[in-house]
């Protein structure tokens, strides 16, 4: 179980997250929804340890609050960050092989093959997102945190990624943050956490969130 317990972030006197508590089991998908600026990405960064925060984070009942991001990674948490984050001056192959074998990445996204020696900074949005996702997937995480995984992807690729997330949830826990095109992810998610202005508006089974989600987003 990956559990964030009363996570709180304050920046320049302003609360970005107010005592957020949520958890998911392995083999579950959790959707984190909410408008822009409601603290979704910040929550993922706190779980990964990239941001200073109050509150505690547990992984399979072990407290990991004081571990560095690199140590959390080695324990099985992987974050695929938002905004198509790639190391711009490194090649695609180098970008991916930080977390595993490039050949495995090719099995997931064969499109990356011809781009292997290209600088990641010169890729288009969709290609960059493939690099981001491939890099996260081949690290074989126990819990995978996906921040806006559909950004920059075309329709058919989007469908592929949705299927990929579904298959992944057979062996690991997946957290998906998105505020767009919610339908498909929402329907297959087990849990939903809705954040507004840094506060949890709803956390629990996705069935219970349906009414609220329809009101807010769909």
């Amino acid at each position: 179980m990956l559990r964030a317990d009363r996570v709180r972030v304050e920046l320049n006197g302003r609360m970005i997250l107010k005592d957020v508590t949520c958890y998911l089991e392995r083999r579950e998908i959790m959707l984190i929804a909410g408008p822009n600026g409601s603290g979704k990405s910040t929550l993922l960064k706190c779980i990964m340890g990239l941001m200073e925060s109050k509150g505690r984070v547990f992984l399979d009942n072990v407290e990991i609050t004081h571990l560095k991001p690199s140590e959390r990674f080695k324990m099985g948490i992987t974050l695929a960050p938002e905004r198509l984050r790639v190391a711009k001056n490194l090649t695609v192959e180098e970008n991916v092989s930080i977390s595993g074998d490039f050949q495995e990445a090719l099995e997931i996204f064969p499109e990356l093959g011809p781009l292997a020696k290209k600088k990641a900074g010169k890729l288009s949005g969709g290609e960059r997102q493939m690099v981001v996702l491939a890099r996260a997937l081949i690290s074989k995480p126990k819990y995978l945190l996906l921040d806006e995984p559909f950004q920059g992807l075309h329709k058919d690729l989007r469908v592929r990624v949705v299927n990929m997330i579904y298959n992944l949830s057979k062996k690991c826990g997946v957290v998906v943050v998105t505020h767009d095109e919610l339908d498909e992810i929402f329907l297959m998610s087990d849990k939903t956490c809705i954040l507004v202005g840094g506060e949890v508006l709803y956390f629990g089974d996705s069935e219970g969130a349906e009414q609220l989600m329809r009101e807010m987003f769909m």
């Binding site: 320049n12 006197g13 302003r14 408008p35 822009n36 600026g37 409601s38 010169k122 890729l123 288009s124 949005g125 950004q151 920059g152 505020h179 767009d180 095109e181 507004v196 202005g197 508006l201 987003f217």
Partner: protein, 213 residues
């Protein structure tokens, strides 16, 4: 009054806008569409923050495509950013007074700023540092500051994003008031539903193309 003719924009190989043709004579125009469809880019191009790769933008008959943001702002186009950008170490009233300073004296600016603060409902927070406001209040502050520039045309980039129901209602009320005052605006949003009762005409944007709908 505003006219976009064949405006295109490409970002490292990605076509964001493909040949946009758009015209606004007066009133509120709404543009809705999913993320990444080019709504924000279009507003940024009108505001002079981004340069279009080709095409012309006519505002009151003048081509503003090559102008800097401050020149465009002085002609009467003001943008409200999607993610609020307040002057965070200044008080709320100073934030709102800053655009007035370009036209009137310090004292008059402060008085007019007070009126605007009242208008957007921040009257009891005027002396607070802007950095300490909540997300909803920041949006109101942004709108107030944009109004203080006395624009002919306001560009509102997703004014309802990041807001809870209560604050969204406040923003909606203020937008209606602005409309009554006779300011024209282009408003973007995720979904048409959010815009339906405030805009005169709505457009849909998808994959960098715009269509009336």
């Amino acid at each position: 009054m505003l006219q976009l003719i064949d405006v295109s924009k490409v970002y490292n190989g990605n076509v964001v806008l493909r040949g946009i043709n758009f015209e606004l004579e007066s009133g509120f125009a709404g543009i809705y569409g999913p993320n990444g469809s080019g709504k924000s880019t279009m507003l940024k191009i009108i505001a002079g923050i981004e340069k279009p790769d080709c095409g012309r933008i006519l505002f009151e008959g003048e081509d503003i495509a090559g102008k800097t943001p401050e020149e465009v702002a002085r002609m009467g186009i003001t943008i409200v950013y999607q993610i609020p950008r307040p002057f965070k170490n200044m008080s709320v009233i100073e934030n709102v007074a800053t655009p007035f300073i370009l036209r009137v004296s310090y004292r008059e600016a402060m008085e007019s700023a007070m009126e605007i603060c009242e208008f957007v409902g921040l009257k009891n927070k005027v002396n607070l540092k802007a950095g300490l406001l909540s997300q909803g209040e920041l949006r109101l502050l942004e709108i107030g500051r944009a109004l203080a520039a006395q624009p002919k045309l306001m560009l509102l980039d997703e004014p309802f994003s990041g807001l809870d129901v209560e604050n969204a209602k406040r923003v909606r009320r203020i937008l209606r008031k602005i409309k009554r005052e006779g300011v024209d605006a282009i408003v973007t949003a995720h979904r048409m539903k959010l815009l339906r009762d405030i805009v005169d005409v709505s457009y849909e944007m998808r994959g960098g193309k715009i269509a009336e709908g």
